[in-house]
Symmetry: C3
Subunit: 264 residues, 3 copies
Amino acid sequence: MIEGLLTKVRNQKPLVHHITNIVTVNDCANITLAVGALPVMAHALEEVEDMVKAASSLVLNIGTLTPEQVEAMIKAGKKANDLGIPVVLDPVGAGATPLRTESTWRILNEVKVSVIKGNSAEIGVLAGAGGEIRGVEAVKSNENLLTAAKNMAKDLKSIVVITGATDIVTDGHRVAYVDNGHYLMGTITGTGCMLASVIGGFCGAERDYFKASIAALVVFGVAGELAAKRPEVRGPASFKTCFFDEIFNITEEKIKGGSKYKIA
Amino acid sequence: MIEGLLTKVRNQKPLVHHITNIVTVNDCANITLAVGALPVMAHALEEVEDMVKAASSLVLNIGTLTPEQVEAMIKAGKKANDLGIPVVLDPVGAGATPLRTESTWRILNEVKVSVIKGNSAEIGVLAGAGGEIRGVEAVKSNENLLTAAKNMAKDLKSIVVITGATDIVTDGHRVAYVDNGHYLMGTITGTGCMLASVIGGFCGAERDYFKASIAALVVFGVAGELAAKRPEVRGPASFKTCFFDEIFNITEEKIKGGSKYKIA
Amino acid sequence: MIEGLLTKVRNQKPLVHHITNIVTVNDCANITLAVGALPVMAHALEEVEDMVKAASSLVLNIGTLTPEQVEAMIKAGKKANDLGIPVVLDPVGAGATPLRTESTWRILNEVKVSVIKGNSAEIGVLAGAGGEIRGVEAVKSNENLLTAAKNMAKDLKSIVVITGATDIVTDGHRVAYVDNGHYLMGTITGTGCMLASVIGGFCGAERDYFKASIAALVVFGVAGELAAKRPEVRGPASFKTCFFDEIFNITEEKIKGGSKYKIA
């Protein structure tokens, strides 16, 4: 199902416009380049519409949000909607503070989002299944999460991605389970943000966002597994170096050999 | 004195809320994870009180301050005080511009700070012993610094940490000297910021902040020494990778074997 | 022509004040340190004049500009002009949005810039030769670019640097061509920003900015070539680590052995 998508990304080099947080913005830019797309970061209200016009996708990440930044996100998102450019939303820390939860809803109410990606607590809170979050880490999630996420996907007409040991992708009808990944990916900050950038890259090249999201998760997870096997890895920082390199060196063949997903 | 504190951090995984600069924020998040705590970065006035409620400690770093950010620091700091959550202040560049010196005093006047950590020029200027700073680097310090720092600690009822070849920790009465560390730590930007994050991690798990600060300095310095010995190190960037990995791989045993500190 | 300039930087340790973007700010700080200068980042309107007073050069980078940040750049730039401190401008993405193009012109109209450095599209747009930019990447440039750049240099009384496979430096009369560099430098984000920091370092130590710019380009490119040869390099992230280390380890002898430039 995901064959050839990486090649599409690398041939088209989609421009991924990010409005994102200050913590992981450099990693998001580098991972976008590594996967074969082009990053651009621009958040001024005065230019987000102009920048998104040139983009193939828009990634919104509320990791260090301010109300002004949310305004810029909505402005850029509406313009993206007008132009048919896919929007990926990463509601970092939704559920941790009212500002984060309410801002996510403001964005979802004003912008048609193509993919919303979060951990089990973030999506759990937003989908109405509950969940517990500490800072930006999921602590507890609910077993009704899948049903709630499917309903959310239907309501929003979006792809919902829930990251975890097994990642879940749903369009409200179909559900994909992706079993790729490695625990070391959780030892560095911003893995989730980087994943959103990679989803942005794939959605910029492939208009079936269900497929694009699965491909992004598989590529991300397979690269993480390959990196974890490298002899250079002695901890999170050496793993991170290897992980970026493996994303850069990933091939259709490696994806085929390493992918572990099923669609139900 | 510091035995078992690392284990406490790793068992409790304290959430360290940062309001910090844009230069080293990614490193601060990663070092917090590496030592075994959880980082969260949030600076919007609209959410800092909500975020700090969930935190075990609060780290304030003025490295790229603005007056608005200082407002957020004070708001978060006051809430932390109300809840008995320790506050660590890193007055980056105090003495270099009036804005930095005055903002540090605004914070110290409005927020009860548990630990204030700076280099010899920053603490020298704040403690009234004088000192010369160029950008954010200490150029000259005064021999009366220790006395001034002890008085400052008494006045503020805070722990004062002065970093240097030999680090100094004082509560105004006791003084600890920590001789761990390596010159390569000064070849990368943000070592001081990262140290503040690690102090935040330890203060989040151990309410004796004198002990917590010493433990953080020792862990930080021993990891730096171990990293410097790695065969992979060829300069600042490879050292940095090894340093983060050594922080992740540090153990009570390595600390015991490597710690060099005395209390006077 | 560039002999001894690296040694000057390392002896003088010029303080390079940056007002720059949130994407690559950490890399800019680290490369400044690696080459032997001192970085400081400060963007608050309330302190930029005070900070620039202590600096040896000022680097302005509009990578994630806002109108407020441009105000700070102009304020700092004017003070730098008053004090005879060189100003390096990196007009990231000029031509991509009206905000970027207009802000670049606002800066150029209000501040005397010593060096302006961009890729062929950025300089092409600003010099009136045209060019096509996608996000912040040059897509197409014009063969009249050199003539236009020379005129721009004369008009602005600035050094104009155009980066590319062969870098061009002109003061409007002389033209230098620098052939150092490696394709891997384009696989990581922010190489251009880092180059501006290194130019800032050299301009802080050498008042002949034509020479300083050439030296910076050569050092940057030779280090990139040396890094690319390292056995550790497996992709962009391992290359980046080696690149920073090679900048740190560069010597006058390595520069002499590796430099490829001519002046026409």
